[in-house]
C-alpha cells in the first residue's frame, strides 16, 4: 500500500511516517511511505535538522510545490476546461494522510489546512482515500460518531492513533482497549473507493438510490437532514420520494458537493471533457460513502449494523441467553450470519430488501431497518422472547458490556442524530478524550 504523509513540520511528518511504518511491520501489512513536507525556505537549524532526519528515513518531496501544482491543475480545469499534461505529485498513492495545520508552508492567501487541500486532492489526483490528522482536540466523537466531524477528508483522527492496530487490521486486535466502532478499515478503504469510482463512472447520470439498490420502501424513512445532504431540491417539503430517486450522481455533484466550491462544481458538472467525469466520480464516491456512514448508518435507524441490530433485537441470537461472547461474534464476524442465529438469519435477514448490498460502500454488514420494523414475524419473535439482556454495546471499545448503574460505567450518551433511539454507550477509558462532554449530560 502506498501511503503519502503530508505535514509542513519535518519532525511531525517523521513521527507520523514512522508510526505508520511501525504499524505495518507490527501488524503485517505492506506500507510504502512517502512524505511531502516543507523543504524550502527553512527558517532555522532545528527545521533543517528535522528535514535531514526525515529525508534519511523516507523519500521526501516539497509539499508547497506539490500543492501549488495541484491548485494550478484545479484552476486550469475550472477556468479553461483542461486538465494539463502528465501526472502531478499527489497522483498514484492509496492513502494520503494530511496534517490539519499547514500554516508553516506560507502559501500566499488564506492559511492552509488539510481541509483546504483535501477537496482538490480528491478531485484532481488519483489518490482515492484521504485522512486528516489533528483537526479536532479529542479522541472519540460523541456527536456524530464519525471522527473529526468537520473534516472534508474521508476520516479525521489525532495522529497519535495512526499506529493503532484497530485502524489497519481489525481482526485479532483484542489487545487494545480503545477500538472505536466507527473507525474505518483503512487497509481496505482504497480498494473499495476505486470500486465506488468505477461504479459511479458507469452510472453518472443515473439515479443514486436506484444504482445503490435502495429498496423502495425505505426512501420515506430517510430523515430530511439526510435527504438535504444529497440534494437541496429533494429536501423541499413539497417534494415526494420520487424527488430523492431523481438525484443522479452528476446532480449531486453539481448541487450538493462539499469538496469543491459551488462555482467550480457547476463548471465541472457541465464540462463534456472525459476527465471531468472522473473528477465527478471521485468526489461523489467519497461524499456518498460519508453520507452513508454518517447519515444512514450512524443513527442506526435506516441502516443498522450487526452489533446494533443484536443490541436492539437480542432475540435474533436464538433462544439461548445472550452472553458477551455470543454478542461479540456480531462484531468480529465478517461472514454471514454475523453472529446471528443461522436459522433466524436465513428466515428474516438474508432477504433482498433487508440486506444492504454493502460492497463497495460500507466496510461492515448492514441491514435496512424499516422493513424489519414492519415485519409481523419479527414482532412476533420479540413478543415471544423471554430472555433478559443487560448488555450494552460500547462504541469506544467495539465490545459488549453489562449495563451498570454505579459509578464505573458503561456511560450513556446522546449523539446529535435527529432521530429517536439515540442513546449509546461508551466505557470511557482513561487517557482518552471524549467530546463534547455535554453528550453525557443531556
Amino acid at each position: 500500500m502506498k501511503i503519502l504523509v503530508c505535514d509542513d513540520r519535518g519532525d511531525d511528518a517523521l513521527s507520523v511516517a514512522q508510526r505508520i511504518k511501525q504499524a505495518s511491520s507490527d501488524y503485517g501489512f505492506d506500507a510504502e511511505v512517502t512524505v511531502f513536507s516543507k523543504k524550502n525556505e527553512l527558517k532555522n537549524d532545528e527545521e533543517k535538522a528535522a528535514l535531514a532526519k526525515l529525508e534519511a528515513s523516507f523519500p521526501t518531496s516539497d509539499l508547497k510545490g506539490a500543492i501549488t501544482d495541484l491548485f494550478a491543475r484545479e484552476e486550469a480545469a475550472v477556468e479553461s476546461n483542461t486538465l494539463g499534461e502528465g501526472a502531478i505529485a499527489f497522483d498514484g498513492f492509496d492513502i494520503a494522510v494530511i496534517d490539519s495545520n499547514l500554516a508553516y508552508l506560507h502559501i500566499t492567501g488564506a492559511r492552509h489546512t488539510a481541509d483546504t487541500v483535501a477537496g482538490p486532492i480528491r478531485s484532481f489526483s488519483t489518490t482515492p482515500y484521504l485522512v486528516s490528522t489533528n483537526g479536532a482536540d479529542f479522541d472519540f466523537d460523541l456527536q456524530y460518531l464519525v471522527g473529526d466531524p468537520k473534516t472534508v477528508a474521508d476520516f479525521g483522527i489525532p495522529a497519535s492513533h495512526l499506529g493503532s492496530q484497530w485502524l489497519w487490521k481489525r481482526t485479532s486486535s483484542k489487545l487494545e482497549s480503545f477500538r472505536p466502532w466507527y473507525w474505518p478499515d483503512l487497509l481496505n478503504a482504497p480498494k473499495r473507493r476505486r470500486e465506488q469510482i468505477k461504479l459511479i463512472g458507469d452510472n453518472i447520470d443515473n439515479s443514486i438510490v436506484k444504482t445503490l439498490d435502495f429498496p423502495k420502501g425505505v426512501l420515506s424513512s430517510i430523515p430530511r437532514s439526510a435527504v438535504a445532504w444529497l440534494s437541496p431540491d429533494a429536501d423541499d417539503p413539497r417534494a415526494d420520494e420520487s424527488a430523492l430517486s431523481k438525484v443522479t450522481f452528476r446532480t449531486f455533484f453539481r448541487n450538493a458537493c462539499r469538496s469543491l466550491p459551488r462555482n467550480e462544481s457547476e463548471a465541472l458538472a457541465d464540462s463534456k471533457a472525459a476527465w471531468a467525469k472522473d473528477v465527478i466520480a471521485r468526489v461523489v464516491a467519497a461524499e456518498l460513502e460519508h453520507w452513508l456512514r454518517r447519515e444512514l448508518l450512524g443513527p442506526q435507524e435506516v441502516l443498522v449494523d450487526s452489533p446494533h441490530l443484536i443490541s436492539r433485537m437480542p432475540f435474533l441470537l436464538g433462544s439461548v441467553a445472550p452472553t458477551s461472547d455470543r454478542l461479540q461474534a456480531s462484531v468480529e464476524s465478517s461472514d454471514p450470519p454475523y453472529g446471528i442465529d443461522k436459522g433466524l438469519y436465513a428466515a428474516h435477514l438474508a432477504i433482498d430488501d433487508r440486506q444492504f448490498k454493502n460492497e463497495p460502500w460500507l466496510d461492515r454488514p448492514a441491514f435496512w431497518r424499516p422493513p424489519l420494523m414492519d415485519s409481523g414475524a419479527i414482532a412476533k419473535l420479540a413478543l415471544e422472547y423471554n430472555q433478559s439482556s443487560d448488555f450494552v454495546f460500547l462504541e469506544d471499545q467495539s465490545r459488549f458490556e453489562k449495563r451498570n448503574t454505579g459509578e464505573s460505567g458503561p456511560w450513556e450518551f446522546v449523539s446529535k442524530f435527529d432521530s429517536a433511539g439515540t442513546l449509546r454507550y461508551v466505557g470511557q477509558l482513561e487517557g482518552v478524550r471524549y467530546a463534547p462532554k455535554s453528550s453525557f449530560s443531556v
Binding site: D11, D12, S15, Q18, R19, Q22, N134, D137, F138, Q143, P158, A159, S160, G163, T405, G406, E407, W411, K416, E430, G431, V432, R433, A435, P436, K437, S438, S439, F440, S441, V442
Partner: protein, 731 residues
C-alpha cells in the same frame, strides 16, 4: 345604392389637442428634445433668438418618406411598436403629439432635416392656416428638397434635424428663460448624467439672458454628488416574474453614527396587498441621495448654497426612459411635490412605518427621521414603453397620461410609490437604529463620573432659576455622588487590572492546551521507541522509563480535559438542561490530576436531577471553581473527601458539595462575603501556596456569577455531618 361617408375633423381640434394635452411650454419643448433623443442625437441645442426658438440636433434626420409617414401623421404609434431607435436607445415618445404642442409656443414652424443618402428636406407649417381651415386634411405643410449647410447641425454633423419656431407667442425674458432652462436641464436623469450609464446625450441652451446659468446648474449638481450623507439605491428586474426588488442603503461615516455602514434588503412587490397580489411593475431602479443641511459640507460648499440648490432642484423625480415626468417632485403642484407622501407623514407625526416588516422594529419613533423633500435628491427610473410591452395587453401597468407629465394613478403606480416609500422608511428606520446604537456606545464610553459632572454643569448654568436653598442642597448631593462614584470606579479599575491579565492567561492556556496535544504525540513516539529498544537489548530499565513517559503523557492528556468544554461548540451552547450527576462526574474526572489524593463521590446525586438551562462549559466551570476552593481548604487536612449530594423537593432543587477542609473560619451568616470578588477566605503559607489552585479571590465570585446568570443561587449552609464546609447551589 351604397356609398361611404367620411368623418371630417375640424382643424381647430389640432390646436385643442396640442394645447389641452400638453399645456406647458417646457413640456412642449421637452417633447421636441425627446424627438432628438429618439433620433439618436448626441447633442440637442435649444437656441433662443429674436422671436424664434431653434431646436437643433445631430440625429439621423428624416427623408421625404419618413417625414410624410410619421411626422405628418398625428397620433401615430410607431414609437410604441418600435422598441429601440436605430442607435439602440429605448424610444421615449409615444403618440406623436409633440409636434402639435409646438403651436403652443409659436405660430410657425420650420423644419430642416438631412438624412444619410437622401436629399435634405425643408418644410413649413403655419398653424394659423391650420386652425383657420375648415378641416384637418386641408392643413398644408409646404415641403421642398434642398441642400443644407453642414454647420446647421451640432458637432459639424452632416445629418440632423433643425426645428425652428417662429412668431413666438410669449416673450422670453431672463426669468422665464431661467425657469425653462431649469426644467430642461432637469429633463434628463441626473444619475444618468453623473452615473456609470451615461448615454451621451447633451442638451445645450443658448440664450443671451441666461449665460452662465447652465454652468452654475451643473456645478451645483457636482457638489450634490459630493456631499450626500446617505444613499438609497434600489433595483427591480423581472418583477412581473416574481423577482424581488433589492434595496441598498449606505450611510457615510459620522452621519448618525461614527462608522460608515451599508444595509441590504430585498422586498417582494406589492409591498402591501392593497394594490393587487402580484407585481404590476417589471423594471425600475432608483437612487436617492440624502443630505444633512447643517454642519460642514465637503468641497467648500456652504450649507446655505446646498439648501438653496436642493430647494430649487431637489426632491425625488420620476424619469420615464431617462426623461423626467415634470409632475413628480416639482413644486408646481402640491400633489406632485409630495407624490410619496413624505411631507404628509411628517405632518401627521407618523412614528412607525406602515410598510416595513416587524423584524425591522427599532426602539423609538423612527419615522420622525424621514427625510423632508428639501434634503433629498433622487430619481426613480421607469420605462412605460417596457411596462406596456410586458403586460401584453392584460391588466394594469405603469402608463403615461396623454399630458406627458405624469403616470396614470393605477395599481401599478401605487405599487411603485410603496416601493420607494419602503426604501425611504427603511432609511429612517436604519438611521434611528444607528443613532440609538451610537448613543449606547457613547454612553458606554462616558464614565458615570462624567455624566454626573455634566449634571453639575447644568445645575450651575441654571443656578439663577433655582431657589438658592434648593440649588445648594442639590449641588451638595451631586458632589457627594461624584465622590462615591469616583471611589467605585477606582475599585473597578483595580479589579479590571487583574481581570484582564487573567483573561489573557486563560486564552493563552487554551492555545497551550492545543500545543500539549503535539507534545503528547511526541512522548508517545518516544515511549514506543524505548519499548522496542528494551525488547531488542533486553534492558528492563528502559521499560520503566517508557512507563514513566506514558504516565506523564496520561497526566498531560488528563489536564487537557480541564479545557475541553471551552473548545467544543456544543459544550459552550446553552441549549438544554443537563444532568447534574453527569456534569459533576465529568468535571471531577477532569479535576483529578490537579487534586491528587482527593476521594470524590457523586453517587449522592439522583440520576434524574437536572441543572437549569445552561451550557456544559458554564456548569463545569461552576463545579471546577467550587472544587478548586475545596482543594485549597483541604491542603492541610489529613483526609481529603469531597461528596456531592443532590435533591429535589417540590419545585426546589439543589446540589450540595461538602469537603473535609479547614472550614469557613467565620460564622455562617458572614460567609456571603466570600462570593465577593477578591475576597479570600483562606490564607495559605508559602509552602502550600505552590499547591493551591487559583488564589486570586475570584473563584467563588465566578461561581455566583454563573449561578445567578442561570437563575440559581449559591450559599454556604450548615456543613453535612462529617464535613467542614458545605456549599449549596439551589434552583
Amino acid at each position: 345604392m351604397k356609398k361611404t361617408l367620411w368623418f371630417k375633423v375640424d382643424a381647430s381640434l389640432i390646436k385643442e389637442l396640442g394645447e389641452r394635452l400638453i399645456g406647458r411650454a417646457d413640456i412642449a419643448l421637452g417633447e421636441l428634445i425627446k424627438n432628438s433623443f429618439d433620433a439618436d442625437a448626441t447633442t440637442c441645442r435649444v437656441v433662443f433668438g429674436d422671436d424664434r426658438i431653434e431646436v437643433i440636433d445631430d440625429g439621423h434626420g428624416m427623408d421625404a418618406d419618413s417625414f410624410e409617414q410619421f411626422w405628418m401623421r398625428v397620433g401615430t404609434t410607431h414609437k410604441l411598436q418600435k422598441r429601440e431607435s436605430p442607435g439602440g436607445r429605448t424610444m421615449t415618445g409615444s403618440k406623436g403629439l409633440g409636434r402639435l404642442a409646438t403651436q403652443f409656443l409659436a405660430d410657425r414652424l420650420e423644419i430642416t432635416t438631412a438624412r444619410r443618402r437622401h436629399p435634405s428636406l425643408r418644410a413649413w407649417v403655419d398653424w394659423r392656416d391650420a386652425t383657420n381651415s375648415s378641416d384637418l386634411t386641408s392643413v398644408g405643410v409646404k415641403i421642398e428638397e434642398k441642400e443644407v449647410p453642414n454647420s446647421d447641425f451640432p458637432n459639424n454633423s452632416n445629418y440632423g434635424t433643425k426645428v425652428t419656431l417662429l412668431g413666438l407667442k410669449q416673450t422670453w425674458d431672463t426669468q422665464t428663460l431661467e425657469t425653462l432652462g431649469n426644467s430642461l436641464w432637469q429633463l434628463r436623469s441626473p444619475f444618468r448624467q453623473k452615473g456609470t450609464d451615461q448615454e451621451g446625450f447633451d442638451i445645450e441652451i443658448a440664450a443671451s439672458g441666461i449665460q452662465g446659468a447652465e454652468e452654475a446648474f451643473n456645478k451645483g449638481l457636482e457638489r450634490v454628488f459630493d456631499n450626500w450623507r446617505a444613499r438609497i439605491r434600489g433595483r427591480l428586474s423581472d418583477g412581473r416574474s416574481g423577482a424581488k426588488a433589492s434595496i441598498t442603503l449606505e450611510f457615510k461615516a459620522d452621519y448618525g453614527a461614527d462608522d460608515a455602514e451599508e444595509f441590504k434588503e430585498r422586498v417582494t412587490l406589492p409591498v402591501r396587498p392593497d394594490w393587487g397580489e402580484e407585481s404590476l411593475i417589471d423594471r425600475c431602479r432608483f437612487e436617492i441621495l440624502i443630505f444633512n443641511l447643517s454642519g460642514r459640507q465637503t468641497a467648500g460648499l456652504h450649507v446655505g448654497e446646498l439648501r438653496e440648490y436642493l430647494q430649487s432642484y431637489g426632491n425625488i423625480g420620476v424619469y420615464d426612459n431617462g426623461f423626467r415626468l415634470p409632475y413628480y417632485g416639482a413644486s408646481v403642484d402640491p400633489g406632485g411635490y409630495d407624490w410619496l407622501g413624505l411631507a404628509a407623514d411628517q405632518a401627521r407625526r407618523l412614528s412607525v412605518s406602515e410598510l416595513l416588516p416587524e423584524r425591522l422594529r427599532v426602539d423609538g419613533r423612527y419615522m420622525l427621521d424621514l427625510p423632508a423633500q428639501g434634503r433629498v435628491f433622487g430619481a426613480v427610473e421607469i420605462s412605460t414603453q417596457w411596462e406596456r410591452r410586458e403586460v401584453r395587453g392584460k391588466g394594469e401597468y405603469l402608463e403615461i397620461l396623454s399630458g406627458r407629465d405624469r403616470l396614470h394613478d393605477n395599481g401599478a403606480f401605487r405599487q411603485l410609490r410603496d416601493l420607494i416609500r419602503y426604501a425611504t422608511d427603511l432609511y429612517a428606520n436604519r438611521y434611528r437604529q444607528r443613532v440609538l446604537r451610537q448613543s449606547e456606545e457613547d454612553r458606554d464610553r462616558e464614565s458615570s463620573v462624567d455624566t454626573q459632572k455634566r449634571a453639575l454643569t447644568v445645575l450651575e448654568r441654571n443656578k439663577d432659576e433655582i431657589p438658592t436653598r434648593v440649588y445648594r442642597e442639590l449641588k451638595k448631593d451631586v458632589e457627594s455622588a461624584i465622590k462615591a462614584t469616583e471611589a467605585h470606579e477606582e475599585d473597578l479599575d483595580r479589579r479590571a487590572a487583574i481581570l484582564a491579565p487573567l483573561a489573557s492567561a486563560g486564552m493563552a492556556a487554551l492555545a497551550l492546551n492545543h500545543e500539549i496535544g503535539r507534545e503528547t504525540r511526541l512522548l508517545q513516539d518516544a515511549s514506543a521507541r524505548l519499548r522496542r529498544l528494551a525488547r531488542r537489548i533486553g534492558e528492563p530499565e528502559l521499560v520503566e522509563l517508557a512507563d514513566q513517559f506514558e504516565a506523564i503523557r496520561g497526566r498531560m492528556l488528563a489536564l487537557q480535559e480541564l479545557f475541553a468544554p471551552l473548545l467544543d461548540e456544543s459544550d459552550k451552547a446553552a441549549i438544554s438542561r443537563l444532568k447534574v450527576r453527569a456534569v459533576a462526574r465529568q468535571t471531577v474526572d477532569a479535576m483529578r490530576p490537579v487534586t491528587p489524593g482527593v476521594s470524590y463521590s457523586t453517587s449522592g446525586i439522583p440520576d434524574d436531577l437536572y441543572f437549569p438551562q445552561g451550557s456544559f462549559a458554564e456548569w463545569s466551570a461552576l463545579i471546577q471553581n467550587i472544587l478548586s476552593n475545596a482543594w485549597n481548604a483541604m491542603l492541610q487536612s489529613e483526609t481529603r473527601n469531597v461528596v456531592f449530594v443532590g435533591g429535589q423537593r417540590g419545585r426546589k432543587s439543589w446540589l450540595r458539595i461538602s469537603d473535609t477542609g479547614r472550614g469557613l473560619g467565620v460564622p455562617l451568616e458572614e460567609a456571603a462575603k466570600f462570593f465577593q470578588p477578591f475576597e479570600r477566605g483562606i490564607e495559605l503559607d508559602d509552602k502550600l501556596r505552590a499547591a493551591a489552585l487559583g488564589g486570586q479571590g475570584l473563584g467563588l465570585a465566578i461561581v455566583r456569577m454563573i449561578a445567578s446568570r442561570r437563575n440559581a443561587s449559591v450559599r454556604f449552609v450548615e456543613p453535612e455531618e462529617g464535613f467542614a464546609t458545605t456549599l449549596e447551589v439551589g434552583w
